[in-house]
């Protein structure tokens, strides 16, 4: 469904992402892992159109979305749950969810999705009228994911959902991600927590200094050189 080819992202003279290619098939949960500065967030940003693409192409089901404005890409069906969550702290939980549905016409199906979101994440029902800034870290993460889902995206991009969360909460978050996948949502997950990400996903790409150094299923990656080594570049993987 999501087809990225030779994507290159540059900030001035620094290349954050260098000609990477990967695919996310419909219904898959694909992970991108890698150390800090590997270009993971830049990749997502390029897909969403918030940073310009120096070269390469992003296709959503044969529709080229490279170079479109973020709001247009969201309209096409790609939603981002960004790093740091970026929920609207001064808005209520309800309003945050409504924001997620900005691309849709208000009506019954939006209402149904709201209900479903609150079934999935009961904490949101509790805090429905509260200012989102008062939620705990874990609750905010749930809200961010729920907000992303409100646009009924074809692909959901998750950027470091476990960041800054206590281990128990991290588990909860991962569990909900798996549940989403089971519901048929296509997910591209960017994670620093490599082991869990690899375990949970159908396929994983390992990114380092802007390039894909390895990819495959959990078993395939276990077979290649040690993941940590890949991460740190201690051992060149061929």
């Amino acid at each position: 469904m999501l087809d990225v080819r030779d994507l290159t992202v540059q900030y001035g003279r620094i290349s954050a992402v260098r000609q990477i290619s990967f695919v996310v098939g419909t219904g898959e949960l694909v992970a991108i892992v890698g150390p800090n500065g590997a270009g993971k967030t830049s990749t997502l940003a390029a897909i969403m159109g918030t940073v310009p693409t120096a070269a390469g192409e992003v296709r959503l089901d044969d529709l080229v979305i490279t170079g479109s404005a973020p709001e247009a890409i969201v309209r096409r069906g790609v939603a981002l749950v960004p790093e740091g969550r970026r929920i609207f702290g001064s808005l209520t939980v309800a309003e945050n969810l409504a924001m997620g549905a900005s691309v849709r016409r208000p009506g019954r199906s939006v209402q149904e999705d709201l209900e479903r979101a609150m079934d999935r994440f009961p904490a949101l029902r509790r805090c429905y009228r509260e200012a989102a800034g008062r939620l705990s870290g874990g609750e905010q993460q749930m809200l961010a994911i729920a907000r992303g889902l409100m646009s009924r995206p074809r692909v959901l991009l998750l950027d470091e959902p476990s960041l800054g969360l206590a281990p128990l909460l991290v588990e909860e978050v991962f569990e909900s991600i798996v549940a989403l996948r089971q519901d048929g949502v296509t997910i591209l997950l960017v994670e620093q927590n490599a082991h869990r990400a690899v375990e949970l996903s159908d396929r994983t790409y390992v990114l380092r200094t802007g390039q894909v150094v390895a990819s495959g299923t959990a078993d395939e990656l276990a077979g290649t050189a040690d993941l940590a080594a890949l991460y740190l570049g201690v051992h060149e993987a061929r």
Binding site: Y11, I14, T41, A46, L80, G84, G89
Partner: protein
Amino acid sequence: MGSRLRWAIGLYTVLAAIVVAAMYLGSLGSTTIDRAVVNALIALILVLGLSSFVGASGVFSFGHMAFMAVGAYVTAILSMSPEQKGLQLADLPGSLATWHVNPLLAVIVGALVAALFAAVVAVPLMRLSGLTASLATVALLITMRVVFQNWETFTRGTRGLILDSKAPSKEVVLVAALLVLGVAVAFRFSSIGRRLAASREDEPSARSLGIRVWWERGVAWVLSAFLVGVGGGLFALYFRNISPDSFYIAITFTVLAMLVIGGLKSVSGAVIGTLVVTAALELLRQVERGWTIAGVTIPSRLGMSELGLAVVLLLILIVRPDGLVPGELRWPGGRADRPSPSGPTVPPAVDVAEPIAVPDERAAASEVRRAP
């Protein structure tokens, strides 16, 4: 250090040569041109003064013409003959009413008073950052105007003052401009100047290195006020007629435009900007006075040159925001040893108002804001 000094000297020589050449080119003509030339030289002094602060701190000051005014009024009071003072400023306190000093000395004193005033203002001002500081300088400009309009004893209010001392020759003004240029170059290349340039690009890092940004900015502020005060004093002496409106929006805009169009990160930019804008303004003023080209008369319209300047500034901001001369001119053949990065080498996230993908976490964190 040797190459830096060489570069500084080389740069100064080049710029000074440009200024002198421009001046003599411009002087090939009547006294009206003379006036324009001196105008340009004084503008250069003002721009160099302003640039010493804005270029160093990255904070736009809209209030610097207040210092120009202080310099001008003090110069006027000190250099006016006692007879004129009796006529125009009858209520001056005793000693001031009779004092009469050499006009150029008056300029220095005026600049010192401006610098002193700047030092006082610096105490609260340097605590403010970026945008708020700029807005505070607007308040400064308007406040000082109110003061000058009302402090009849010293300024004769809105009627202004007429000076009767001997006006300086354009050569004197040229020498002053070259001296100011020297000071500006020296400051930019000094260690404090370089530290400021670094902290302008990346303040959090600079602060974390223990650089006392606010103190060093304060120094730049006071120095720039002094230079602008010199410009004010010379302005008063040469044009002999000053009033609160001489130091208000129009001149603030013109000086700022020269700075931005030239390029506010470098002394070279200040020089080039002044020359380019002066030339453009003179051209536009010709049009304003009414022109006949090939039998078609363009009627005169007051305000056209200002309009033109605003348009040029807008175009530069849109197309070439770093100005015509983004970095310092390099002395040809010298080693490229820059005192400061001439452009951001961190991802433009620092400049972009809505970054999302930021490899630089610091900028990302500062983007998450709380609202009303």
